[in-house]
Amino acid sequence: MNPNLNPNRSPSAPVRLYCRLVRTFSAAGPMSRHAETCADCRRYFQASAQLGAALRRDAVRFAPPPPAGLERGIMQAIQAAMPSSEMARPRSRPASTHAGWWAGISVAVAAVMALAVGLMHPPTSNPAQPNPSAGISVAENPAATTPTEESTVERLWNTFVPPAQKIATAEPLQDELDAVYSDTRFAIDFLALNFLPAEALHAQPAASGLGRG
């Protein structure tokens, strides 16, 4: 039996790829046609294929038998290493990073919109409201003596960080009462406009108010 054809036995003589043509280029295409006629190349590729087959065969033939209870040992190792609560559920897939990106983008967009609205509608003092800084002396309120245009940066800063003077002179109870009064007046005006006859509306223009202002 030809030893080169025996898959169980490797070639006894050293087999090398002598042909420079095939060593230089790929064995595909024209090279495969060349290999059909070149004895050296044929011998090399045959030996290479035999070696591959022998390696595959020996990997199966000499595979060690797995120890008894290998699978059980693996599951027990997992149970021993993981708490029972985690054993029931492996670490779940983490939340997609896209969700974090979207949340960040939403917050940024909301902040930009709030900023834009704040800049377009700067807080104006209500003439109906008493000026809380009226009672503050000039020394305490220099802005009252030099009414200059606030820059954009100052307005932005004041939007988020109210000045100490504002905090000190704020009257939250009065502000709340004014807001309630304003809402009530608006509601009564709305009802009068829609449900009272026009004559009554012209005859008693003051009836729509609460007797104040």
């Binding site: 490797s10 070639p11 390696l55 990997a59 595979a63 060690p64 559920r89 670490r91």
Partner: protein, 194 residues
């Protein structure tokens, strides 16, 4: 405990044929707290992983320990597995790294003794020795470097592609081709067992 786990949610386990067709389903079932799904993964792949690790360690107990560590790591990181790729390749990657860490902590590749010391050769040992002499892999382990042997094993014993081997070994495809070529040349040089 194992028996208890086996009895849980039996009806949710897909049939073996169906699971074989779609391994990703099995992984998703394991992620959805189906304990039998991971058992099925272990049942399918533990033997190949053990065999691969035994080629590294040449020691049954070490290979068994490393197999357990491999599957434990796989269980803990199952959510990171890309279901588009074969599960066995991912397990090979984990097993290889686990084995390398083991060697880094213990012994070098060249110093690992064989599992079967034979001071007084019995007939069984003689038979084993003659088998080993014919075994190309035993010969390859003697003459190849660890990396060459590892790449050769993945290419021929596990029959993985160049790209898959490269991904598992952390090499480029060209590097894998070079290593396989060199390993084959060395095995074909006439130093092969007759």
């Amino acid at each position: 405990m194992i028996a208890a786990l086996s009895s849980v949610q039996t009806e949710e386990i897909p049939a073996p044929e169906q699971a074989a067709a779609d391994e990703a389903t099995l992984v998703r079932a394991a992620l959805d707290a189906n304990p039998r799904a991971f058992e099925e993964i272990v049942r399918r792949h533990s033997r190949r992983i053990y065999n691969f690790l035994h080629q590294f360690t040449r020691h049954h107990h070490d290979a068994e320990d490393l197999t357990q560590q491999t599957f434990l790591k796989a269980y803990q990181n199952l959510h990171r597995f890309d279901c588009e790729r074969p599960l066995i390749n991912w397990l090979f990657t984990i097993a290889r790294r686990t084995a390398l860490n083991h060697f880094r902590a213990a012994k070098k590749w060249e110093e690992v003794p064989d599992d079967t010391p034979s001071e007084s050769p019995s007939p069984a040992n003689q038979s084993e020795t003659s088998d080993a002499a014919e075994n190309l892999w035993a010969h390859a382990r003697r003459i190849l470097s660890q990396r060459e042997f590892e790449v050769l094993w993945l290419r021929f014993a596990e029959e993985l592609s160049i790209e898959e081997t490269a991904r598992i070994a952390g090499l480029t495809a060209t590097h894998v081709k070079v290593l396989v070529y060199r390993a084959r040349q060395q095995l074909m040089k006439g130093a092969m067992p007759s």
